[in-house]
Symmetry: C2
Subunit: 437 residues, 2 copies
């Protein structure tokens, strides 16, 4: 963990190093992924079964790729009732927020008599990738699937690897609760290829979303254009802004909740209170002695963690925008003034009671968020990822007379004569505007 | 040009071939583009000058990369006044539509007492790529720059190659009218690299947009993640739905306006009237005898054009959704019933008077649209491309008591104990809800 202080002369250099310390090219897996995608595209189900045997150590036939209703039923029955209730509370809250997020269509006639508008429609089919093993989070299934459902997507296909044939009951229960229509036991780049190109068993989708390892990320990058994809997630981060009124242990736990995800995660505390800074540093070390995932959280904290003392909230706001954090906690008596100053952050948690973990599960907004400083230009997953816009314009004779000649002039200037003629031929057919003479 | 008829037994096979006839892998330029990007990243301006000398046959120093105010002034002075007026009419209409498109923030408190919302903010800096030569369209400068300005982007940098040092006055005039802040005489993958990574002269941006050749498209693909990009445009298309009440020559000109863009463009007429079909086919041939860009338009029409006769509007709607056209003209007495049935199209032009070319220049909606069937999942350029969302959630003691325990249960189920502790420690500190006993 690094200690930084904005009053120190080397602060800017130290802060620049902090921002850059997780950069660097990720492993290049272009070639193996291209090979897998080509195999899936040309050989379909047979390639899926071959790769599943190789990577997930299990034999499966094309007919067995789809997880059956009976298997899903059995999985749901295996989940304790209190956990199903928690899943249901989370799902209800996520649905409600994403319903509130739904945009409205636009339609109006302007002063030139032109009809204009924009209509939102849902995608027909979406594919959700869910990682296997320890990164298989049922909460992520809800966060990826429910916005698609709320947006009105008709078909939701999900792919999840089942290494050694082991199913994750809570993931299947979350998929059922979220309205996933089909689930396949396929993972990796081959799953992304199947959803993008389609096979005899898995029909193609229009967009592929969901987290995954480097192979999955590269596969999404390679199928981009053929289908839509969501953002490619990098290492995750939190910035916690806390004043002296906080319990240092709670601040420490918030920092560690981020750090326990991944040794590459980054937790940064920003505070105006040097005393709190010291006490949080001590509390983090104390918690690391008992935390089950202390190895990961400790590696993250020692490698990428930081405590930054600042003069005031204005300075905090400036640093936050430079970091553009995925998660921002404002553990302040009144978080609103600082919140109003922040421009770049994926999701913000307001006030001392609102742990970031609330947002991971039950807050309502999405927990799939722009990582690694991409909140400068990107947003969290939302209904907008599952909708597209059709714009439209209508012009009658009068409107054409008003705006058509400018189109003819510009088309000629661009050397596009058929464009110009397509408008001027209509103007000629109309003749002079006798209504106006 | 192919003639298809939905009543013929081979229709489905012929239609599938029509949909697929422009597919196929584009030229792979990954390696040369990666090399250019690496050079720009490590050597900065010097690499830009070297590539500009090589590709654009002109000597430029770092200090000369930026096009000066005096050059822009001189360019604007060289544009005839009527053309400037047409540009201004177009710009005003594009601005007005994109202002109407601006979304609203969301903020509410739900039944559990949780504060929730979503705030839209503009990107800080955007880079516009403008191709050189014949594909340098001033209208595209307006269409790319104005939505960014309307969204509130503070800094708009533009890169345009100037082969042999030749500036395009109308492109510079459009850039000035659209509020572009900086213009650089750099093109190709090197321009994309400069905007993504920054050099001493060109500060980095947060998102790169604008059309370009295969090198520019591949460069955008490779910098994606570091910065945002817009969609990567493929060959363009129009579907024209026309009934017997249309002048065949006007329908033919609309088909040719698409075809004259590019030999890979695709123009499809759908009609219930076999007689119109014949007369449009004849009219296209007649226009091709005099059209200046007849070589391109003729290659597009003969290679990819089609006339499809259908039984009724329902059949037309089904085919349109399968094509998911970039542009859709409904040249019908009442276009609304068919428009209501269409789900997948980039932009729609309503009624006999509204040529697609109106939308290219002066309609108001954006002409940067999803091509090559991507309207299934993608949308045209808009203010949404230059905004991002920050979601937020706030929970006080009562709200935490209601929703916190479910978060604790789910965090434990996912094996994330610091997550669980960060919530349960707060619940413990609150103690029992004495207000409620």
């Amino acid at each position: 963990m690094k200690r930084l202080d904005t009053t120190q002369p080397d602060f800017r250099a130290a802060f620049a190093r902090l921002l850059a310390d997780r950069e660097g090219d990720t492993a290049r897996v272009d070639a193996p992924v291209a090979e897998i995608l080509a195999a899936v595209r040309t050989r379909g189900d047979e390639a899926l079964c071959t790769y599943t045997a190789r990577f997930d150590r299990m034999t499966v036939t094309p007919a067995g790729l789809r997880i059956t209703e009976a298997e899903i039923e059995a999985a749901c029955a295996a989940v304790p009732a209190p956990l199903l209730a928690a899943l249901d509370l989370a799902a209800g809250r996520i649905e409600a927020f994403h319903r509130a997020q739904m945009p409205s269509d636009l339609r109006y006639v302007d002063a030139d008599g032109v009809s204009l508008g924009m209509r939102w429609t849902a995608l027909d089919a979406v594919g959700l990738y869910v990682p296997g093993g320890t990164a298989a989070y049922p909460s992520s299934v809800l966060m990826n699937a429910l916005p698609a459902r709320v947006a009105g997507v008709g078909r939701l296909a999900m792919c999840v690897p089942t290494p050694d044939g082991v199913l994750n009951p809570l993931v299947l229960a979350a998929a059922r609760r979220a309205g996933v229509s089909e689930i396949y036991r396929v993972g990796g780049a081959q799953a992304v290829g199947a959803m993008a190109y389609g096979t005899a068993t898995i029909r193609p989708v229009d967009r592929v979303v969901g987290p995954g390892n480097a192979y999955v990320a590269e596969a999404k990058r390679q199928v981009f254009g053929r289908v839509g994809i969501d953002s490619i997630a990098g290492p995750s981060e939190v910035v916690v802004v806390a004043d002296g009124g906080n319990d240092p242990r709670i601040v420490a736990l918030d920092l560690l909740a981020q750090a326990e995800h991944d040794a590459m995660a980054q937790s940064i505390l920003i505070t105006t209170d040097p005393d709190l800074a010291d006490r949080v540093a001590t509390a983090v070390e104390a918690e690391l002695r008992t935390l089950p995932r202390a190895a990961i959280a400790g590696a993250s904290w020692s490698g990428h963690g930081a405590i930054v003392t600042v003069r005031d909230e204005d300075e905090a706001a400036t640093l936050i925008d430079e970091i553009a954090p995925e998660h921002l906690e404002l553990l302040l008596a009144d978080p609103e003034p600082l919140f109003a100053k922040v421009r770049h952050a994926g999701a913000v948690f307001l006030g001392r009671y609102c742990a970031e973990a609330i947002g991971d599960y039950v807050g309502g907004p999405n927990h799939v968020l722009p990582t690694s400083r991409t909140a400068r230009f990107a947003s969290g997953l939302s209904v907008f990822d599952f909708l597209k816009r059709t714009t439209f314009v209508g012009a009658g004779p009068d409107a054409l007379r008003r705006i058509g000649p400018a189109a003819v002039a510009l088309a000629h200037a661009e050397g596009l004569d058929a464009h110009a003629l397509s408008v001027s031929a209509r103007l000629d057919a109309l003749g002079p505007d006798t209504d106006r003479t």
